[in-house]
C-alpha cells in the first residue's frame, strides 16, 4: 500500500478570497487602490501608499520579472522530497507588487535578476496557485 503525502494547501482568508477564486479561473488577481492607483499584494484593507480603504480587485497581466530566487535543499516536508532541491522566488509583477512564489518550466534558463517571467497556475489541493515560468 502506498500513501501519497500531499503538499500543504492554501487556506484562504476572507480578505484574500478573490485572489484564490481568480487563480481557479487562471487569473492573477491583485488589489488596486481606487484613490492613488497603486496595486498591492498581499491583500490589505488599506493602501500602504495613501491609506485609502477604497480599492478594487483587478486582473494582473501575469508578466513579471525575477527579483531573487533560492533553491531549497533542506528536507522540510515529505511531499517536496521528490523535487528537492526546488526553487522558490520573489518576483515583481508588471503592476508593481512583489510576490513570493515558485518557478517552473526552467529548462536550461540561467536565472538572473530581471529575467522576464510569465504566470502559470498549478494545482494546490482544491485550489490553484500562481507560479512563474520564463517568458
Amino acid at each position: 500500500m502506498t500513501e501519497t503525502v500531499q503538499k500543504p494547501v492554501p487556506t484562504p482568508s476572507p480578505d484574500a478570497q478573490p485572489f484564490y477564486d481568480g487563480a481557479k479561473q487562471g487569473q492573477l488577481m491583485i488589489q488596486r487602490c481606487n484613490a492613488c492607483g497603486v496595486c498591492r499584494f498581499v491583500a490589505r484593507t488599506r493602501c500602504a501608499e495613501c491609506g485609502s480603504p477604497d480599492f478594487a480587485w483587478v486582473r494582473a497581466s501575469g508578466r513579471a520579472t525575477l527579483i531573487s530566487w533560492a533553491h531549497v535543499h533542506q528536507k522540510y516536508h515529505p511531499a517536496f522530497l521528490a523535487e528537492t532541491p526546488y526553487p522558490i522566488a520573489m518576483v515583481e509583477l508588471e503592476e508593481g507588487p512583489r510576490m513570493v512564489t515558485s518557478l517552473v518550466q526552467l529548462g536550461n534558463t540561467a536565472l538572473r535578476a530581471g529575467l522576464p517571467l510569465q504566470v502559470v497556475f498549478d494545482d494546490a489541493g482544491e485550489w490553484k496557485i500562481p507560479k512563474f515560468r520564463p517568458a
Binding site: 494547501v9 530566487w69 533553491h71 533542506q74 522540510y76 522558490i88 508593481g96 512564489t101
Partner: protein, 396 residues
C-alpha cells in the same frame, strides 16, 4: 524634536549584571527554569538580591512559556515596571531601551530583562524547530500559501535576501564564508560556545546547502537556555560589583515590507535608521566603534547590518569582511564570543550578553583591548525589526 536622538539619556543608565545559563541540547529543563536561573545569575554577577528588583521585562522565545505571571515564579513583590515584550530578535535591545527610559523617568530603579527558550527536543532538530519561524507573523492565510510553495521559515527568507544582495552587488558565498570563519575563530576562545573547532573557508564552501545560496555554516545554531541582564541607574551601577556597561545610545528601525516595487528592505534594513538615532544620541560616528556584537542569525545578516550602520558603503560589505577584519586581531572585532553562528542562539541576548561580558573585562583570552564604544544590534523577522544599543566603558 521627534525622530532625533536625545542626548539627555546618554550615560544615565547602565547594565550592571549579566547571567547566562548552560546552553544547547539540554532537554530536561523548562523555559521557566532557564529564565529563573538566568536572572539569579545576573543578580549575583551584579552583586544584587532579587528584592532589589523593582522592574521585570520578559521575552519568550519560540517555545513560549513566559508571561507577566513569571513575576510570581520569581516571587517578586511590588514591581513598579512589568511587561512581556516581543519584537523577535530585536527584543533584547528593546527591553534594555525601555528599562533605561523607565529608569530615567523615575518609574523604576533596577530592572531585570530576561529571555529564555527551549525549542530543541530530543526528537526534533534545529531545522524543524524553526520551520515555521518567519511566517508566523504573516497576514492570516498567507503563511499557508507560502507553505504551498515550499517556503518554510526563515532560512528561505534570508536565502532570498542574500541572493538579492548577490545579484545587486556581486557579493559571493566566499565572502559570507569569511564571516563564519572569523566568528568561529572567536568561538575557539569562548568556553560557553557550542562550536569551538576552527573552520576554514574551504570547510564553509564544503558545507551543505540548506537553502542555496545559504550553506549550513551560514546559519545560526538553535539553543535551549536563558540569558538575563540587569539595568539600573549609572549612579547605582558604579557602586555594584562589576564595571558598568553604560548605555550611551539607543535606536530602532522597522522598515516594513509592503512588497512593492522599489522597496528593498532585505538589502536596505532597519539598521540604517536605528544607527542614525543611536549614533546621534551617543554623539559618536561609526569609526568610533571599537567592537561590534551584531545579530547574526545568518552570515548575510552581519554583512548587511555592517553596511547599514555605515562601516562601509552599501554593496561593499563583501569586500569589507573578506580579509579577516572581523576576527581576532582584525581592525573591527565583531561577534567576539562566536555569535549565534558559533556560540549559542538566544535571540538578541547573544550579542548583548557578549558585549556586557567584554565591558566587564570577563572574556579571558578573547578579551578586546578597548571597549570604549561597543555596538550591539538585534534583528527580528526577515530583517523586519531592528533595535540597537551603543554601550560604553565610560558614562559619556
Amino acid at each position: 524634536m521627534p525622530g532625533n536622538g536625545n542626548e539627555s539619556i546618554r550615560g544615565k543608565c547602565a547594565i550592571a549584571g549579566v547571567g547566562i545559563t548552560e546552553m544547547g541540547k539540554i532537554y530536561d529543563r523548562s523555559v521557566n527554569d532557564f529564565a529563573t536561573e538566568a536572572i539569579f545569575l545576573a543578580l549575583d554577577n551584579a552583586g544584587l538580591k532579587a528584592s532589589d528588583l523593582d522592574g521585570l521585562l520578559i521575552n519568550s522565545g519560540l517555545e513560549g512559556g513566559l508571561s507577566p505571571a513569571f513575576q510570581n515564579t520569581l516571587g517578586l513583590k511590588d514591581l513598579r515596571l512589568l511587561n512581556h515584550m516581543n519584537a523577535f530578535g530585536a527584543t533584547a535591545a528593546s527591553m534594555v531601551q525601555f528599562a533605561a527610559l523607565a529608569i530615567d523617568a523615575g518609574m523604576a530603579n533596577t530592572v531585570a530583562c530576561v529571555f529564555a527558550d527551549a525549542p530543541l527536543k530530543p526528537d526534533r532538530g534545529a531545522g524543524d524547530a524553526y520551520k515555521s519561524r518567519g511566517v508566523a507573523s504573516l497576514p492570516e492565510g498567507y503563511a499557508s500559501l507560502m507553505w504551498a510553495y515550499g517556503y518554510f521559515g526563515a532560512n528561505c527568507g534570508y536565502a532570498l535576501a542574500a541572493r538579492r544582495h548577490m545579484e545587486l552587488y556581486g557579493t559571493t558565498s566566499e565572502q559570507l564564508g569569511a564571516i563564519a570563519v572569523s566568528q568561529r575563530a572567536w568561538a575557539t576562545m569562548n568556553p560557553r560556545a557550542q562550536m569551538r573547532t576552527p573552520i576554514t573557508l574551504a570547510d564553509h564552501q564544503a558545507s551543505r546547502y540548506v537553502v542555496e545560496p545559504l550553506r549550513l555554516l551560514d546559519c545560526c545554531l538553535v539553543s535551549n537556555g536563558g540569558v538575563a541582564v540587569i539595568v539600573t541607574s549609572a549612579e547605582r551601577a558604579r557602586d555594584l560589583k562589576q564595571k558598568p556597561a553604560y548605555v550611551l545610545g539607543m535606536g530602532q528601525g522597522h522598515p516594513g515590507d509592503p512588497q512593492q516595487a522599489g522597496y528593498e528592505p532585505q538589502v536596505n534594513t532597519g539598521a540604517r535608521q536605528a544607527g542614525q538615532t543611536a549614533f546621534r544620541m551617543a554623539g559618536i560616528a561609526p569609526q568610533d566603534i571599537r567592537a561590534c556584537e551584531i545579530y547574526d542569525c545568518y552570515t548575510y545578516t552581519v554583512l548587511v547590518t555592517l553596511e547599514d550602520y555605515g562601516f562601509c558603503p552599501k554593496g561593499e560589505g563583501g569586500a569589507f569582511v573578506q580579509n579577516g577584519k572581523l576576527g581576532p586581531g582584525g581592525s573591527l572585532p565583531t561577534n567576539t564570543g562566536g555569535g549565534q553562528l558559533s556560540s549559542f542562539y538566544m535571540w538578541g541576548m547573544t550579542p548583548l550578553s557578549e558585549a556586557v561580558l567584554q565591558l566587564q573585562g570577563q572574556c579571558g583570552e578573547r578579551q578586546i583591548a578597548d571597549s570604549r564604544y561597543v555596538l550591539v544590534t538585534g534583528n527580528g523577522g526577515i530583517l523586519s525589526y531592528h533595535g540597537c544599543l551603543i554601550l560604553g566603558s565610560e558614562p559619556n
